[in-house]
Symmetry: C2
Subunit: 371 residues, 2 copies
């Protein structure tokens, strides 16, 4: 029996072998560059998948919320960075965690540091957020004086131990080529190292640089300009990463199996059960259309390569409309299963709350807690 | 103490009074037109909110999946239409439901009807899906011969009882004015009544027309061209419906409270904890920008009117970037709460899995089952 025979409704499929290969490859990249590997677990959100990192010696992780930190701490992880500007309203949850595990927080303002100085009940590591061009959060990397002021403010509390400077070069997601990604890494890390020198001059000898984003961690061979990498998406990859060039198509480890519910050959369309509540409304320009997913066929061992010029072109809550080239249409029937390669696997995982592995295992995420 | 004092992380807030008013108003509209009211429960997805319909005599509902039908059946609803092209792979779940409750299904192809004729184990009502211009699913309303062939095929099974023609005029969501919405209703229902006549001529005397979509059900005063209405979003409304004109701003009954985690006055931006996993990536053109949500301030009894020219302009997994007019920026601090009016409330509800009512009640949805 094939894995697909038992699928009745939209299902997130995990190719465990690909996932393990992705983990192994990123572990090797970190090792080759001599950098600390602190993978971001916001993509897979699963204690079971987290366990797959342990045999590689991974014992420190990154998360994006206090709730996610609590989930992984409850599953035995005791060295966690919350790589999100500290949410002052969650100080109680932060203190509860800081008493139990080695916790690291991220700040970018004097106000937040002052709040922590006054309200922290246990020691934490502190990262200063640098903006190296993504312009989402952080202090511009060139503003050394601001960083020095933040570091000085943090020195007022013995509970705050300055770790260094953390950044997420999110602009790599908009890079046009691997070369451009490498250039972003090179430029940004030069600036980060100048900042590191400025901070060291004040007496903080052990200033680290922590670097995120899957495209650069996948494409830059020598990552030794930084001390730590925090990629997350690499564990599954997705169609966006494939388009950027961060992975090969055969590295994409998660996809969404969807039943065909209607055919409209008169407009080259197939309707699936699989909508915004399954795939999210993340979109990508692909093959000249706005695509909510690429389309593949189920195989005995997983799924095929994506069908050229087949795309999810529209999503409502539960419906997906697929544009399918004429030559493929005649072989698709109502009741068949199609496999959608998601544009953004993190969001699909968040929506599904669990994976079905190709060998039949149900793997829950934190959204479907088992403890 | 205000409702907002206890909020620490992104939270879906429900204004129960507005929600009850929305229900009452739609009940009254259906009554005034003499049409059957079969509200779509895919928006609120909650057995608790479903209970609020019962005092108005509502005993028949619409859902968008077999899983949703099962959830509401488990909570005592025994007259349910699954207004989604029947998913053949879920025949076992369909049969289980059909044995317990009065179930109505939706089809648009001979293949699906033949499958039901062969595989149904209990009686169901059958709706034929008509496309009146949304071009998502359905047989074009003008193609009477196709409908006649579908009706004939259905007559081969005593378990299939033809209810009539069902449509969702989704194009009302792209209408530029209330007048245009009314014109869509008028044109489409004329065509549906011609189709109804054709179907009646074959001997099916009790052919019904079932009509969906919140914009037309909110804006058309005389809905008596159809027999049944199935609006869903009206129970909460959202910023999209407000922009269409389906509701007043003060009818929007659900919003997302989000903590401020960073300020970037140099680019008129505020960063909130509140991202794609909270608001979804549904977007709308608003005030010349691509908006993922309008921005309001919390008040003692709910939230303010939206701030003109303040919008959620970018979302990552957990971050929201808000563009805020300069004059409001100075009054916003890290640690404050802002209230986002979602672009699409159905998707925000699906992501949050529960509501916090303004008076402190936690209301779960089917995504956070309590039985």
């Amino acid at each position: 029996m094939n894995w697909s025979d038992t699928i009745t409704s939209p299902t997130l499929i995990l190719d465990k072998d690909r996932c393990l290969d992705n983990i192994r490859r990123m572990v090797d990249r970190a090792k080759a560059s001599g950098v600390h590997f602190r993978p971001h677990f916001k993509t897979h959100q699963s204690a079971r998948i987290a366990d797959w990192f342990s045999p590689f010696g991974v014992d420190a992780i990154t998360v994006s919320s206090v709730a996610m930190a609590k989930y992984f701490a409850d599953h035995g992880w005791n060295n966690i960075t919350i790589a999100f500007p500290v949410n002052l309203r969650e100080i109680q949850g932060i203190n509860d965690l800081a008493k139990k595990i080695h916790l690291e927080l991220l700040v970018e303002s004097l106000e937040s540091i002052r709040f922590l100085v006054e309200n922290l009940k246990a020691p934490v590591g502190l990262w200063l957020k640098a903006d190296v061009g993504a312009h989402r959060t952080g202090v511009p990397v060139e503003e050394h004086d601001t960083f020095l002021a933040l570091a000085k403010e943090a020195s007022h509390s013995q509970r705050l131990s300055l770790k260094g400077v953390l950044t997420h070069a999110g602009q790599t997601y908009h890079a046009g080529s691997a070369e451009e990604v490498k250039q972003i890494y090179s430029d940004a890390t030069s600036k980060l190292n100048l900042l590191k020198e400025s901070l060291r001059k004040t007496g903080s000898t052990d200033i680290q640089i922590s670097w995120g984003d899957t495209p650069s961690c996948s494409l830059v061979d020598d990552l030794s300009n930084v001390n730590e990498i925090r990629p997350g998406n690499f564990v599954l990859f997705d169609f966006t990463q494939f388009q950027i060039g961060s992975c090969r198509e055969e590295d994409i480890a998660a996809a969404v199996a969807c039943p065909v519910v209607a055919l409209h050959p008169e407009r080259n369309e197939v309707i699936i059960h699989g909508g915004a509540v399954h795939l999210s409304k993340e979109r990508l320009e692909h093959e000249g259309v706005c695509s909510f997913g690429a389309v593949a066929l189920p195989t005995a061992t997983g799924w095929s390569k994506y069908i050229p010029n087949a795309n999810v072109t529209s999503l409502s809550q539960e419906h997906g409309i697929l544009s399918i080239p004429k030559e493929y249409l005649s072989s698709i029937q109502v009741g068949d299963l199609l496999v959608i390669l998601p544009i953004h696997s993190c969001l699909a995982v968040d929506l599904f709350k669990q994976y079905h592995s190709l060998d039949g295992e149900i793997i829950p995420t934190m959204r479907m807690k088992t403890i």
